[in-house]
């Protein structure tokens, strides 16, 4: 028996000892940066210039007069509003398919999940080829007698193309999330419905959909947060072009911070993006809560 240390003291000592490393890492790389981001957004903080004057709200005021920022905001909202619903419905549908008893289920699940475990640089590179003028998409369209365009250099289709890629690449991930939720629904519920003569379609809308509502909420939140911060695909496929038609807010933050080295300005735009994300999740929680009233 050790002297002097009660179990309570032992627990406290061990508790902090076990947590000290995560606390330090979070302190340096999450908690401090959060406040520091706000702080530097009030400064003209250029990486290359030692003098970093306080400018008050000047960065924010400049943002609202910056045409590129406004375009980026618009693009980001279009992106999220387009991708989130399609992705959510598609992944729920895939999960519904995968929840049926069918031969080769493991293979199909692998197929749908494959894009989600693959690096964004891989899927983006493959899709640059698919979307190019002599690429696969136009080839398939030509078989149907449709004359395609150069999808990523056409300002009208570039953003849409990246949105489609995102739906394709992430829906498998959310499928797995939905699948976990579906497997919690007792089979007896479906059996009862079948006895009552409900079709597969009715079962989907009347049983599956309402019962996975908490999962849907979770998926929509994650999907929204991800979409609002989309970066990799834009950086790899289009660099924001053509004529800013694919410049998203994250890409705007990156360009201003790490290409023009205007870290204060970049931080201010990141803060606005964070505020939009916060606002959207609050609205979602208010109007589309995980549990119906």
């Amino acid at each position: 028996m050790k002297k002097g240390l009660s179990d309570r003291q032992k627990q406290t000592r061990s508790g902090y000892l076990f947590l000290i490393f995560p606390i330090i890492i979070f302190g340096i790389f999450t908690i401090f940066p959060m406040f520091f981001a706000l702080f530097i957004s009030f400064y003209d903080w250029n990486l290359l210039i030692p003098d970093k004057p306080f400018v008050g709200l000047a960065n924010y005021i400049e943002l609202f007069q910056d045409e590129v920022f406004l375009i980026a905001t618009k693009n980001t909202i279009i992106y999220a509003l387009g991708v989130v619903p399609v992705q959510t419905i598609l992944s729920l549908f895939l999960a519904f398919l995968m929840n049926q008893k069918l031969p080769g289920r493991g293979f199909f699940r692998l197929a749908f999940y494959l894009p989600a475990v693959t690096a964004s640089v891989v899927t983006s590179t493959i899709f640059i080829w698919i979307y190019s003028k002599p690429g696969l998409l136009n080839y398939l369209l030509s078989l149907a007698g449709i004359n395609g365009t150069d999808w990523l250099t056409n300002p009208n289709t570039a953003l849409l193309s990246i949105m489609a890629l995102n739906v394709w690449s992430t829906s498998g991930y959310f499928m797995i999330t939905f699948l976990a939720g579906l497997q919690n629904i007792p089979a007896s519920v479906y059996e009862a419905a079948k006895i009552d003569g409900a079709s597969a379609w009715t079962q989907f809308w009347k049983i599956t959909f309402p019962l996975v509502r908490p999962v849907t909420y979770f998926v929509v939140v994650l999907s929204l947060i991800g979409c609002f911060q989309v970066f990799d695909q834009v950086f790899i496929m289009s660099q924001g072009g053509p004529v800013n038609s694919t410049t998203t807010m994250s890409f705007f933050v990156y360009i201003n911070s790490f290409k023009y080295f205007r870290l204060g300005y970049g931080a201010a735009s990141a803060i606005i993006l964070a505020m939009i994300i916060y606002f959207v999740t609050v609205v979602q929680k208010r109007y589309f809560p995980p549990e119906p009233y």
Binding site: P22, I28, P33, L94, F108, F127, L136
Partner: protein
């Protein structure tokens, strides 16, 4: 009777069609990577190469710093995976099993940090690392990802399902809490630990944005960032590029196939619980 058969045919057509949409792009990139001709943009497209070769897979090692990037990717992913498995299970144990002042405060703080979009942390993280001259070093790439809140939460959730009786005997014997964690909890937590390891490795292996920001010379690139660099340099050589994309995807693909069940399990225990 006829109606059932029709819907069954429709179901399978749909399933096969979907499978083709999800797997097709990978199969085509595999086909291009094996194409002996450099000019793959022939019209109409040949889905299967007429002359095929493995030379692109050899050339990528010989002509490009692929080996160097692979080494970087492995070092970074392995260190982050080991660190996450150890520290998030240790922290998860503390939150699940120990009672101490400040426990709820720290747990809420950790959970609240999940609400912060990563994008606002990028710039300050960069400035901090720049102050310590860690830009373009392994430390700079690795440090911020050594432990993650999601993993801590996952481990805490898992440990809470373990019955108390298991550790009580050990406590009476005077075992330290670390010993209880190490000798009793870890050995029975393999599924959760595997889930943490798999998710961390996969995320680390595929990480793009942070590595782009924090690396400045090509010798520090990881595979994804190196591939993107290649794409800009060698956009004409699609077979070579596609060989690279196939090689990058292999580890995560193999891990997924081998540990498939842990993927579903991981998501199942990670906060979807009501």
């Amino acid at each position: 009777m006829k109606k059932i058969r029709l819907s069954k045919i429709f179901f399978w057509l749909l399933l096969v069609g979907m499978t083709f949409i999800y797997m097709g792009p990978f199969l085509f990139s595999l086909s291009i990577s094996l194409n002996a001709e450099q000019d793959v943009f022939q019209w109409p497209i040949k889905l299967i190469p007429q002359k095929w070769t493995f030379k692109n897979y050899i050339q990528i090692w010989e002509d490009l710093p692929f080996g160097r990037w692979l080494t970087n990717s492995l070092i970074i992913s392995i260190i982050q995976t080991i660190s996450n498995v150890f520290f998030s299970s240790l922290a998860g144990f503390a939150f699940a099993r120990l009672r101490f002042p400040g426990r709820n405060f720290f747990f809420s703080l950790f959970m609240a940090s999940l609400m912060i979009p990563g994008i606002i942390l990028l710039i300050p993280k960069f400035i901090v690392l720049n102050e310590f001259h860690l830009i373009n070093t392994y430390s700079g790439i690795i440090l911020p990802g050594l432990v993650s809140v999601v993993n801590i939460f996952l481990m805490k959730q898992f440990f809470e399902t373990i019955p108390k009786a298991l550790e009580e005997a050990a406590l009476i014997d005077g075992c330290s809490y670390f010993k209880i964690y190490w000798k009793i909890f870890l050995p029975i937590s393999k599924p959760a630990l595997a889930a943490v390891a798999i998710y961390t490795f996969q995320g680390s292996w595929n990480e793009f944005m942070w590595t782009v920001i924090v690396t400045t010379t090509s010798d520090m690139f990881t595979l994804p960032v190196g591939m993107n660099f290649l794409k800009n340099e060698f956009l004409v050589n699609w077979p070579l590029l596609m060989a690279g994309t196939i090689l990058i995807s292999l580890p995560t693909l193999v891990i997924f196939i081998v540990f498939q069940r842990y993927f579903v399990q991981g998501v199942g225990t990670s906060g979807l619980k009501e």
